[in-house]
């Protein structure tokens, strides 16, 4: 049940990210000038008849954010009560802390008239919080708890899965860090008004590289170059997983998904420029970026899973008959040693 709830929280956070990106795309960030009230009303009693024009985006975003915050409280409390792994209990607290900080940043950016630094930090922390919700879903999943240890393969006489090794871990981690950096550059571009600093695509002012520069052009150029780096890195990751870990669905599925997502993301990025920043296309570009990040995070976390394995899981890998109880062994170990 906890795992199902964690997936529900992930889904709600995706909607929240979409709602937030619609606010910026519609230039609605200051349509509700006060915070935490809304035109003097309590946020939760602001009459729906007044949710007109851009207020619908901004106030809607605040309500969805409050809902996600409330769900995160439930998640943190649930983890604290029911989760045997101490580190995961504290991770839930950290997720709650980050969503509270995110709310405060959102309020501050309104009260200070959307300064670029605070708005970009708000966007960056949103991605971190989203990653935390996805991580909790992974950590509470049966696959993670079982350690992706391939005991089922042994029982059914299939080849044992290739252990996940260092090159995979570093490639996946690098990809995730690169994607997050690209998202930060994109957020900076968005909140400094540089989204159309280079107005054509795929060329830049009719050339491969801009023939003149400004701060805005530099940021926009960095985002396009970043997209090339990210795409190359993710294609390399996919190729590596396909060649070495083809039999591991916990890696192949997200690797295949990420290739599809990055193709969509590049297309959306191009269309954002060509459509002169159509609000809906622009917003979906933001959401797709978040999905690329968290899919890479899933691969990364799973690639590091074996490094989190403590005694009981390693014992289960050598004694396949004890596989059904290995999960229980993990839970027993985590009570005392904070296992994976």
């Amino acid at each position: 049940m906890l795992h199902r709830f964690s997936k529900f929280l992930v889904a709600c956070t995706v909607i929240l990210i979409l709602a937030g990106s619609l606010v910026t795309s519609h230039d609605a960030g200051l349509s509700v000038p006060d915070w935490p009230t809304s035109y003097g009303w309590n946020m939760f009693t602001f009459p729906p008849s007044m949710w007109v024009a851009n207020i619908l985006y901004e106030h809607g975003h605040r309500l969805i954010a409050s809902t996600v915050g409330f769900l995160t409280v439930i998640m943190a409390v649930w983890l604290w009560i029911a989760e045997p792994r101490r580190w995961l209990r504290w991770f839930g607290v950290a997720a709650l802390g980050s969503v509270i900080a995110q709310g405060v940043l959102g309020g501050l950016t309104v009260l200070f008239f959307l300064p670029a630094a605070i708005s970009t930090a708000h966007a960056g922390l949103a991605e971190i919080f989203f990653c935390m919700t996805v991580a909790i879903a992974i950590f509470t999943s049966p696959g993670w708890i079982a350690g992706y240890d391939g005991n089922e393969d042994r029982r059914e006489g299939r080849a044992v899965r290739t252990p996940m090794e260092s090159p995979l871990r570093w490639l996946a981690t690098t990809a995730t860090v690169l994607i997050y950096s690209q998202i930060l550059i994109g957020a900076t571009m968005r909140h400094t008004g540089a989204g159309l600093a280079i107005p054509d695509f795929p060329l830049m002012f009719g050339h491969l590289i801009p023939d003149h520069w400004s701060g805005a052009i530099a940021i926009h150029f960095a985002h396009r170059v970043g997209a090339l780096f990210v795409t190359t890195c993710l294609l390399a990751l996919f190729a590596h997983i396909r060649s070495r870990y083809n039999e591991r669905p916990e890696l192949m599925r997200p690797a295949t998904l990420i290739v599809a997502l990055v193709a969509v993301q590049v297309t959306l990025g191009a269309l954002t420029v060509l459509s002169r920043r159509d609000p809906l296309i622009n917003s979906f570009h933001v959401v797709c970026g978040a999905l690329v990040l968290t899919t890479s995070l899933v691969i990364t976390l799973r690639s590091w899973r074996e490094r989190f394995a403590f005694g009981p899981i390693r014992q289960a890998q050598t004694t396949s008959e004890r596989a059904p109880s290995s999960v229980g062994a993990v839970r027993l170990a985590s009570d005392s040693r904070g296992g994976a």
Partner: protein, 271 residues
């Protein structure tokens, strides 16, 4: 001690009186010959309307006026209801002749020197009516009250984006709400926007002197009661840019100038 203080005080008054009266007589003797530069006027000098002149003129558009962007107000049913005719931005408002350009802010940019002017106590007003700002372009003096009114049965927020003055963004959710604001620094121009209704925009020029005007639908402007002197007059348009003209007026003289704008991106001329 008291007698000494009395003599010092009388001496000070005599000195101040001499300084105040001495400059005026110089100005009177020079206006008959040629306009005296206002910068020679003593500090704190007020305009003598008996000798003041007038600068008037017209702003024109060279070439066909670009079409103004249509406005879709579907996002707020109240705005749709309040406007029974199609709505357009007011970027290029031209007269019936297709050339005279309205909404050009014309003002004395330089040349007033040490003249001082009373700050009006009567507030200027900007009204949010039918989901548009009225007026679209206007002027106000530093520290003059600006009354902001919401005449619409819907919410607005009034968001000023100055560069030198303090930014503000206030909500007016109820019809009839009023608020008052003052700008404490001169600035040309301060944009206003409504973040709820993204099509709403207006501009205000914050001045240290009362010599400003906005061209009417015939493109005409008038800057009366200008003391004799040489002035830099600037004409500002929200899209076509700004241009300046130098004009010298004598006592009770009227001069006319014409500003000719080209649509955004082209060069402008004046004569």
């Amino acid at each position: 001690m008291r007698l000494r203080n009395t003599w010092v005080g009388l001496l000070g008054i005599a000195l101040a009186t001499t300084l105040a009266c001495g400059g005026g007589s110089q100005e009177t003797s020079s206006t008959a010959a040629k306009p005296e530069s206002p910068s020679a006027a003593p500090a704190g000098q007020k305009v003598d309307t008996a000798t003041a002149g007038d600068v008037k003129g017209v702003a024109m558009l060279d070439g066909a006026a670009p079409k103004n962007e249509p406005i879709k107000m579907n996002a707020d049913p109240v705005c749709v209801k309040e406007n029974t005719t199609p709505q357009f931005q007011e970027t290029y408002e031209v007269g019936s002749d297709g050339k005279s350009l309205a909404n050009v802010f014309v003002y004395v940019k330089d040349g007033l020197g040490n003249y001082v002017f009373d700050t009006p106590t009567k507030p200027a007003t900007i009204d949010q009516k039918s989901c548009r700002y009225h007026p679209h372009v206007f002027g106000i003096m530093v520290n003059q009250p600006l009354e902001i009114v919401n005449s619409d049965p819907t919410l607005h927020n009034i968001h000023a984006l100055p560069k030198g003055n303090a930014e503000f963004n206030n909500g007016q959710p109820i019809q009839g709400m009023k608020m008052t604001h003052t700008f404490d620094k001169p600035e040309v121009m301060v944009p206003f926007k409504c973040d709820v209704h993204g099509w709403m925009n207006a501009y205000v020029g914050v001045m240290t002197n009362p010599y400003f005007a906005v061209t009417d639908k015939d493109g005409k402007f008038d800057l009366p009661n200008l003391p004799p002197g040489t002035y830099t007059i600037e004409a500002w348009h929200e899209k076509a840019g700004a241009q300046t003209a130098s004009v010298t007026i004598g006592a009770k003289e009227t001069k006319e100038i014409t500003f000719t704008f080209k649509a955004a991106g082209a060069t402008a001329t004046n004569n």
